[in-house]
Amino acid sequence: MDIYAKLTEILADHTGRDAGEFTRDTTFESLGIDSLETVEMVMELEDDLDVELELEEKMNTIGELVDFIESKL
């Protein structure tokens, strides 16, 4: 699965923006996404990926979160 594509799809759903607006360097803060919402998005991905993703540190950008998720697969 393309994690970046899946994550930006979820982000688009959460923010009401077009997924094409996002880049790896886009910060969650700039999208008004707080850490609880980040956890919720990760939990949505968990269900799709059938893997447990325990966020132990704050993820600032889309790229950081994609790298973290890919490191767990």
């Binding site: 609880l36 956890v39 919720e40």
Partner: protein, 247 residues
């Protein structure tokens, strides 16, 4: 019954206030998970009483001051009972001494079991609550955490910490409809208070405006209320059940 279909996890739920809470929540329809350490006999009695009500019950020995052990135990609770809807953090100990005589071990053990345990269980249940977008966390603090109490620097500090933790968790999770409240018992008759020095106990009785000790069931009634939909608009609150000691 107000808690039908819910699962409640009660730490220190084998005896005393914890057992009273476990029984009361079960009587309101909740299935019960108990984590405890110590004497298995009262644990078996509590389990039998809950089973007799027709509720499912999962009971496991777990030192909730141990982070990894707690994560594993909660995972097992979720696997066995299908999730956790209500978390009651009740496990607590006392190691009473004046500060001058209090050892580092006295301090650490009380802080670990009374306060760190709540961090451990809340962390363990956090994702479960987030997925459900609902949850009730009920932390048992003490009037000692509000007023302080000579001879209980460790206990009072741990219980004051519980109040800070309660209000912080309430703020962090309010937007997800996860309510977190604390109950502050005063002098409640339990095996723990039975082990107190009789002079210390009398000194406490003398300070109770209502003039008598409370019962574990008084705390259990409030826990059942806070766990129910009737308390849906209450979060970050500390409710004293103390005969007026700390008013």
């Amino acid at each position: 019954m107000t808690l039908e279909g819910k699962v409640a996890l009660v730490t220190g739920g084998s005896q005393g206030i914890g057992a009273a809470i476990a029984r009361k929540l079960a009587s309101e329809g909740a299935d019960i998970a108990i984590l405890y350490v110590g004497n298995p006999v009262p644990a078996e009695e509590t389990v039998a009483a809950i089973e007799a009500m027709g509720r499912r019950v999962f009971c496991q020995v777990c030192d909730v001051s141990d982070f990894d052990a707690t994560q594993a135990a909660v995972k097992e609770v979720i696997a066995q009972l299908g999730g956790v809807d209500i978390l009651v953090n009740n496990a607590a100990i006392t190691r009473d001494k004046v500060l001058l005589a209090m050892s580092e071990a006295d301090w650490d053990s009380v802080l670990d079991i009374n306060l760190k345990s709540m961090f451990n269980t809340i962390k363990a249940c956090y994702r479960n609550f987030m997925k459900k977008k609902a949850g009730r966390i009920i932390n048992i603090t003490s009037v000692a955490g509000i007023m302080g109490n000579a001879g209980q620097a460790n206990y009072a500090s741990s219980k004051a910490g519980v109040i800070g933790l309660t209000k912080t968790v309430a703020r962090e999770l309010a937007s997800r409809h996860i309510n977190c409240n604390a109950i502050a018992p005063g002098a409640i008759r339990t095996p723990m208070t039975d082990s107190m020095d009789p002079k210390d106990l009398q000194a406490i009785l003398d300070t109770i405006p209502l003039g008598f000790m409370g019962e574990a069931e008084d705390i259990a009634e409030m826990a059942a209320f806070l766990a129910s939909d009737k308390a849906k608009y209450i979060t970050g609150e500390v409710i004293r059940i103390d005969g007026g000691i700390a008013m």
